[in-house]
């Protein structure tokens, strides 16, 4: 009666297959239409940011005084002058080129800030989580409490204004200053997240198992805890990008961020605001760009969060 003799190979009857965590996630991501839109949006923006200024018809600071003079020293609306497809502002600066520069600024800020966030937040969170309960953990957590209580924008503005006139503040037209200022408050969320992940993963049995066979603490962290805990961090970083873009635009809008002649979208909007009725393109063009950037990254971040959610594995 034993049935455990050699199984007869399946012919027409199929059996299930298993696949890896990442493949599952990518599959789910692809099916999420909003996320796919976001992904392409992000790719497009990255392309613009990296290659845009090289492809731009004019340098962002160039003032085509001749064209503007011909127009009575007024901004040229879009689709009227073939050498300025998207029009110019009152000084003859080409809008398309300026917006491309803005793209480069926004993306640089967003990515560098996230880098800063990771470089500061992950180690702090990891240390606090791994040595949780110790004085190191308590100290670090009290420190993050203070940073968390600080209303972000206030600190960013104060910091920017404080260092504006220094060499550090002048570097790269104020771009460096913006990186640091925004990064100062943004790392707290990631640090807390990392700490929380470490706290829960530490208790998991596979850590005990690894310790039992003598794997060093350092290797446990690198080989076991990080790959497992990394998904929420990926999501947080992706969703932190729109926040950084927003912060940078706000700073530029109130004049504290990137300085002219660089053309951050925020400063473009500020410059265009007084002329909004007569020359709306000065405002809505950068507005559209900001909207596109925020939407793309947010959708992608949402999609990643849904795709990497372990509870969704196997269901659909």
């Amino acid at each position: 009666m034993a049935t455990n003799q050699q199984a007869i190979p399946a012919t027409a009857v199929q059996t299930r297959q298993s696949s890896g965590v990442w493949r599952d996630a990518i599959g789910r991501l692809r099916k999420n239409r909003l996320a796919v839109v976001g992904f392409f949006g992000v790719c497009f923006l990255l392309f613009l940011g990296v290659f845009g200024p090289m492809l731009a018809p004019w340098p962002y600071y160039a003032q085509d005084t001749a064209a503007v003079a011909a127009n009575g020293f007024k901004p040229i609306p879009p689709f009227q002058d073939p050498s300025h497809i998207l029009g110019t502002d009152g000084l003859g600066q080409d809008m398309l080129s300026r917006m491309l520069d803005g793209a480069r600024i926004s993306l640089t800020v967003a990515l560098v800030v996230q880098l800063v966030v990771l470089l500061i937040g992950v180690p702090i969170g990891a240390l606090a989580g791994w040595y949780s309960g110790s004085r190191l953990d308590n100290g670090l957590m009290r420190f993050t409490d203070v940073m968390y209580a600080f209303p972000d924008l206030l600190l960013i503005i104060l910091f920017s204004v404080a260092f504006r006139e220094t060499a550090f503040g002048q570097a790269m037209n104020g771009l460096l200053l913006v990186f640091v200022a925004i990064g100062l408050t943004a790392w707290v969320t990631v640090a807390r997240l990392v700490r929380g992940q470490f706290l829960s993963l530490k208790e998991m049995e596979f850590v005990e198992a690894a310790q039992a066979i003598g794997v060093s603490d350092r290797n446990i962290v690198i080989r076991h805890l990080l790959p497992n805990g990394i998904s929420p961090i990926i999501v947080a970083v992706t969703l932190g990008i729109p926040a950084a873009i927003l912060a940078e635009a706000t700073l530029a809008y109130i004049g504290v961020g990137v300085q002219p002649p660089r053309a951050s979208w925020g400063s473009l909007i500020a410059a265009g605001q007084p002329f909004i009725r007569s020359y709306p393109h000065l405002t809505y063009l950068p507005g559209i760009m900001i909207a596109a950037a925020l939407i793309s990254f947010t959708f992608l971040g949402d999609g990643l969060r849904d795709a990497l959610d372990p509870k969704l594995k196997g269901k659909q």
Binding site: A149, P151, L153, L158, A162, A292
Partner: protein, 305 residues
């Protein structure tokens, strides 16, 4: 529970002090003094005024002075408005800022949560797309852009609302919407995600197996559980409203303390800067404590442990 609350409240004090110390330091690193941007003042007069306001002392001592003064409830003189003390200015402006913030908060929650619930219940059908569409617009528009659009459309073109000031309900509408817009979207998306997750839970199936009406299932079982995580983000939401308020105040010319903060930085009005920062930080911290306590209260698992 009582000790938890007490601990959190006591913890506020050192945190606010730390914030004030950091602000004080940064503030004094801003080049120039209160007098540099205004009319040119001779060095002699400058020195005399500095002495009068204690600005010639070392910075740590100045901080101590400030703390002592604060302990007596005095934020000090305003450098910009020489005839008024900071206390007076704040007493004037704070109520307006609070009003703006509270209204924006109520709008954000009153619109955001139903929008999210609506979207989740009509998942992948028309209500979901509509609500998601609104959320998209919300997150894509920074508050200042939204403010510009609102003013252009409703003030300039339609002439329904005035462009600024703070006198009476018509002046409240546009600033509140501009401030709350982004948050409505955030709350809606978060609520939707939370509801969708709760819908998949086993106890919903149990509730259905009891033959309960769908209204009861949605309110008693889904909403109760879905709203708990939403409470946790209310703290950061409020913080965002607080910090976002001063852009809106500046834009609409609302005489609240947010606007004074911006002016204070521009004019190196130290007293003003310190006062507004401390108030903001305190507000954010207190609200976070309230939210955390509320969260502990409504989740019975935490309440009893």
């Amino acid at each position: 529970m009582g000790t938890y609350i007490l601990k959190r409240v006591l913890w506020l004090i050192p945190v606010v002090f730390a914030v004030s110390a950091i602000t004080f330091t940064l503030m004094h690193m801003v080049p120039g003094g209160p007098w540099s941007s205004e009319r040119a003042v001779s060095p002699g007069v400058q020195a005399k005024i500095n002495k009068q306001y204690g600005l010639d002392k070392p910075i740590p001592l100045q901080y101590v002075d400030w703390v002592v003064s604060l302990a007596q409830g005095d934020f000090g003189p305003s450098f910009r408005y020489a005839d008024r003390s900071v206390n007076a200015i704040i007493a004037d402006g704070l109520p307006k800022s609070i009003q703006l913030g509270v209204m924006a908060f109520i709008v954000a929650v009153a619109l955001g949560i139903p929008l999210g619930v609506f979207a989740a219940l009509g998942h992948n059908k028309a209500p979901d797309y509509a609500a998601t569409g609104i959320s998209i617009i919300g997150i894509a528009t920074p508050s200042f852009v939204l403010a510009i659009l609102l003013v252009v459309l409703f003030s300039v073109v339609l002439k329904w609302f005035p462009t600024g000031g703070w006198k009476g309900p018509e002046t409240w509408v546009l600033p509140v919407i501009a401030l709350a817009g982004y948050q409505v979207a955030v709350i809606a998306r978060y609520t939707r995600a939370s509801m969708l997750e709760v819908t998949r839970k086993d106890y919903i199936r149990t509730a259905q197996s009891k033959g309960l009406r769908s209204r009861a299932v949605v309110t008693r079982h889904m909403l109760r559980n879905a709203l708990i995580p939403v409470v946790t983000i209310l703290g950061p939401i409020f913080a965002f409203l607080v910090t976002g308020s001063f852009i809106i105040e500046t834009f609409f010319g609302i005489p609240g303390i947010g606007r004074y903060y911006v002016q204070g930085i521009a004019g190196r009005d130290y007293g003003m800067i310190m006062a507004t920062t401390v108030i903001f930080a305190l507000a954010v911290a207190v609200l976070n404590v309230i939210v955390d306590v509320l969260y502990a209260f409504i989740d019975p698992r935490i309440r009893y442990s």
